[in-house]
Symmetry: C2
Subunit: 599 residues, 2 copies
């Protein structure tokens, strides 16, 4: 897209703002469910800014247009915003205001802030209305100004829903909803308004295809003590789903009926909702008519703690995926310099390899294949038009994963294709050291990711280096690749929820180095939280590794590793060979033997 | 004390409760200022329970008497409570209720909880009154029932106050109070009711002697935008203090006038107070008459961040103290088995050595000298009557410190006196590894102790072992040896304040091993937080070590240490020798050379 078009669109937006008496207009990146990935229909911020990263908010006023995004996207945003006149606000950097701080400073009494209340989460909506209200600033949240400007906007996605068998889920809907209702009772609530899509899928043991890479169906749930109202687009409902729902006392309603339902329902108790993902418009509708309690969705932690059936399936799926990635690395190394290769074809290759795998459903996110300096962009995506040619030198970072019937994978390896600098070896070794140290953490029950982050980040901090993102995120089961509440992060921020690492949670372990204009390195495994020894000092916990794919020996240098790092990497590689060799061709297995020899 | 006396006292207390219509009576451990150490006058809980640890609360009802204390004191409390009939509640252990949970469960509608409102902090008082109020339970907080039972109770301590010269403080009262007023304004408050004694001393650049080991004077402050009302016992006021106060617009009032003052003052604005240390009685008095804001005392963090004058003085004082402790270790090792030695005489020896030092004011806490299994009691205190004979075998743990004109010290070494087991060497090496790893932390600004704790605790966690306390605490400047807001701890607890480690803060680094009935090990240094490199990734921070005293090589075994641990310990020992050798006798220096050779 040319950024001339962006300027034109912003001009039209400002006209609409004028017409509607709006002085500042906020465009976050969200669907009606605060999903992480959003369908094309919801890409309003990209439409008005050209910035295509997954996280970003645009604020437009007569004077200025500003885009807020996080450290993963600074480089990408700078490039994509060129020529738009939009100012980049680098979130979390010293001296950079938050959106709220910016609006509080810039807006004056009598002015109006506008946004589409369906794409703003209710916590943020409440905060905006409270803080700006104090300054005499009005809020208009009923109108989506894009509707009259974005004329060729894609329609809402809608796909048929699939019901998962019990051997995949390990727990029935009835068992799950009983646990949810227990928590509703504990919080003295009679109703639970659930709009988080992956939580709905988990609870109902169904999957959809309405969000790219996330196997979810656009829908809402309203759970009472006796039944559940389930709001979903008519065309997503199959005969099988209809029967399933009637069997379980689930009342099907159309997706768009939620508004009317919340207005007309005879509330006889308190409504539980999660302010961090219910949208501001729905929240307002319920809160005007009933008592409400803001608390994390009871489904969130129940979903995060995988049951034994899920764990068993995950182990099988990860083995399958590990084999694919290892075969891919072999293919890359054998073919680089011999066949034409670029970031896009490299992406297509691994995606195709996964598509052929047993149980494959979808990618779990768009594959990132960044060559040399492009790897410094954490969420870079090569396209058919825009990509870099891969040659037998430097490194290629490949971050990819699949949705399988049996689990969701996410793995990153940075692959040596030819000569690399000493600096790269140093950085690569430090990343591997951090990854392997976190893997071997032994910790008391009660730790969250904040207690452990320094294990992964330490080798870089020792060199006065950092990566501007968390070390790891929770990961779903045939669901979103990013899933809460657990994570591995170090920073404390006021009001941030912190989740204890519970047995059965899955989390990624992905330290990295990102040198703008030079190189990017990331090594990512998935870990399961397991119980260790219990004694008088407490319940110890540790990690089981699901990802076994070689870490490129050519970029590992013993002089940057401690003896223990070396021992742990050698043990890891021995296990990679043991697990994968029988699933490879003879040539691949011979190569893997070399790749997994002790350092 | 015989525990028959305790039973008799509890009987009298129950009679008084009956007379006063009180069903449950709570006796926490606090003075009117929520100080950590309390004068004999305030040791009501010890009077009624015989438990002498620094932290503990007693709850007495017709049915049961229960004592709550933390992990440091489990062993000691078990011993001291024997024969009293009092039940020990081990705080933080699984399934053990908090005091509030206990009262909520045990008390029934129409019953009354009693306590002396002056020795209960207002946060806890408010919580008790709110939670129990819901159950129809009344609170009586006006009466100290001990008054009519404890007939030979010591009177309130009172000592003359000393004014510190600027070359010791580095900042005048005027400069300090200006910063405090800035923060009062930021919080839109007109008054600041300050009852924390060390904060008052810091602000006024004075010191007292009313609390054992804490150089503070019993007093209260009420700070307005123009002046400060200072409430202090008449006999503590010298002519010099009177002049000093009039010079700075500080209005002196008697300590006991605070109540009348808070009742009669014409409030024209909001009162700032810190709910975690203002007592419930004073809080109630102010809150009935004025708007209040509960926030950390602005003095707390200002005091914690030491200025350059303080840092310079601390470095000198620590050197002096390091020399004393090193000479003491030499003396111990030379004399054990040759002269009669027990824990008490060993305690007297180091205390006497400190008393002779330049600038010595007081001990910073009662010296802990625990031999063999007694070292497993974290806060053990040997007495002339009750102590263990020291022989040339096993280890002696000595945790001690001094108040000097120029700083407060706190250091622990566990000293080998003869044969020790392989298990002890393993534990000792792990403790040393943890201590040295935390010392070498390099971390981004924004970290709190929660991010770093695992560095010190990791070597023990790897062996499925833990110590049931924090790794480190903030330390005052000629003030309390335990000082907030910073600390090094791993556990998250709801509502807990967390302090970023700021340049100039001092913190202890003291991992340990405590094997009940067998042995105890602790190695403790004091660290200063310093700024390191600042670059595009942020402001890096690191630690400067103040404590240089040899770590006993006889208990260090290379097979339990990583190469890096060994290198760091060797470097530390080299620096110990470099700094101390010129301050020792020839024999001591020769011995130290041996003690500090590379492992």
């Amino acid at each position: 897209m040319s950024n001339v078009a962006v300027k034109e669109r912003l001009k039209l937006l400002k006209e609409k703002m004028e017409e509607n008496g709006i002085d500042y207009y906020l465009i976050p990146t969200a669907d009606f469910h605060n999903s992480e990935y959003v369908d094309k229909h919801f890409k309003v911020r990209e439409f008005f800014s050209n910035f295509s990263g997954s996280n970003g908010s645009l604020v437009v006023s007569r004077k200025q247009a500003g885009l807020w995004t996080d450290g993963r996207y600074f480089i990408q945003a700078e490039n994509e915003l060129k020529g738009t006149g939009i100012t980049l606000f680098r979130m979390m950097e010293e001296g950079v205001p938050t959106i709220l701080e910016y609006l509080e400073k810039e807006m004056t009494e009598g002015e109006t802030l506008g946004f589409d209340g369906r794409v703003v989460d209710c916590n943020f909506g409440k905060k905006l209305s409270e803080k700006l209200g104090k300054k005499g600033i009005a809020i208009k949240y009923e109108k989506d100004l894009a509707e009259e400007i974005w004329l060729d906007r894609p329609i809402l996605p809608c796909h048929e829903v699939q019901i998962l068998p019990e051997k995949i889920c390990g727990q029935t809907y009835e068992e799950k909803v009983a646990k949810v209702r227990e928590q509703m009772k504990e919080k003295n609530t009679a109703y639970f308004l659930l709009s988080k899509l992956d939580d709905l899928m988990w609870l109902l043991n169904i999957r959809g295809r309405d969000v790219v890479c996330n196997p979810v169906a656009l829908s809402y749930g309203f759970i009472t003590m006796e039944n559940m109202y389930y709001f979903i687009q008519k065309n997503a409902v199959t005969e099988e789903l209809r029967e399933y729902c009637s069997q379980y006392n689930i009342i099907l309603k159309d997706y768009h009926e939620i508004t009317g339902f919340l207005k007309d329902f005879s509330y006889e108790g308190t409504v539980l909702y999660d302010g961090s993902n219910l949208n501001y418009a729905l929240y307002s509708m319920a809160a005007e008519r009933a008592e409400t309690v803001d608390a994390p969705n009871p489904t969130e932690k129940l979903k995060a703690v995988k049951n034994e059936t899920e764990l068993k399936n995950m182990r099988e799926v990860f083995l399958r995926d590990n084999v694919i990635v290892t075969k891919y690395i072999y293919w890359l190394k054998k073919n680089v310099g011999k066949i034409p290769l670029n970031e896009y074809t490299a992406t297509m290759k691994i995606d195709d390899m996964r598509r052929e795998a047993e149980g494959f459903l979808d990618l779990s996110f768009e594959t990132i294949a960044g060559y040399k300096e492009n790897a410094a962009m954490m969420h870079y995506e090569a396209t058919a038009e825009n990509n870099k040619t891969i040659e037998p030198e430097g490194m290629l970072l490949v971050d990819s994963g699949g949705q399988y019937l049996g689990g969701t994978t996410d793995v990153t390896r940075t692959i040596v294709l030819g000569e690399i600098s000493e600096e790269i070896k140093k950085h690569f070794s430090a990343v591997a050291a951090g990854m392997i140290r976190l893997t071997h953490a032994n910790f008391l029950y009660g730790c969250s990711g904040r207690n452990l982050d320094i294990l992964a980040r330490g080798p870089l901090w020792e060199m006065n280096m950092d990566y501007k993102c968390g070390t790891g995120h929770g990961i779903g089961y045939i669901l979103n690749v990013h899933e809460g509440p657990q994570n591995i992060r170090w920073k404390f921020s006021e009001g941030q929820k912190e989740a204890v690492l519970e047995e059965g949670m899955a989390v990624t372990n992905e330290p990295g180095v990102y040198m703008e204009g030079s190189h990017g390195i990331r090594t990512e495994n998935v870990l399961l939280v397991r119980k260790g020894e219990k004694n008088g000092d407490g319940q110890f916990m540790n990690f089981e590794t699901l990802t076994y794919v070689p870490i490129d020996r050519q970029a590992l240098d013993k002089k940057y590793l401690t003896e223990r790092d070396i021992q742990w990497i050698d043990e890891y590689h021995e296990e990679v060979y043991r697990r994968l060799s029988t699933h490879l061709t003879k040539e691949e297995a011979e190569w893997l033997r070399e790749e997994t020899l002790p350092l």
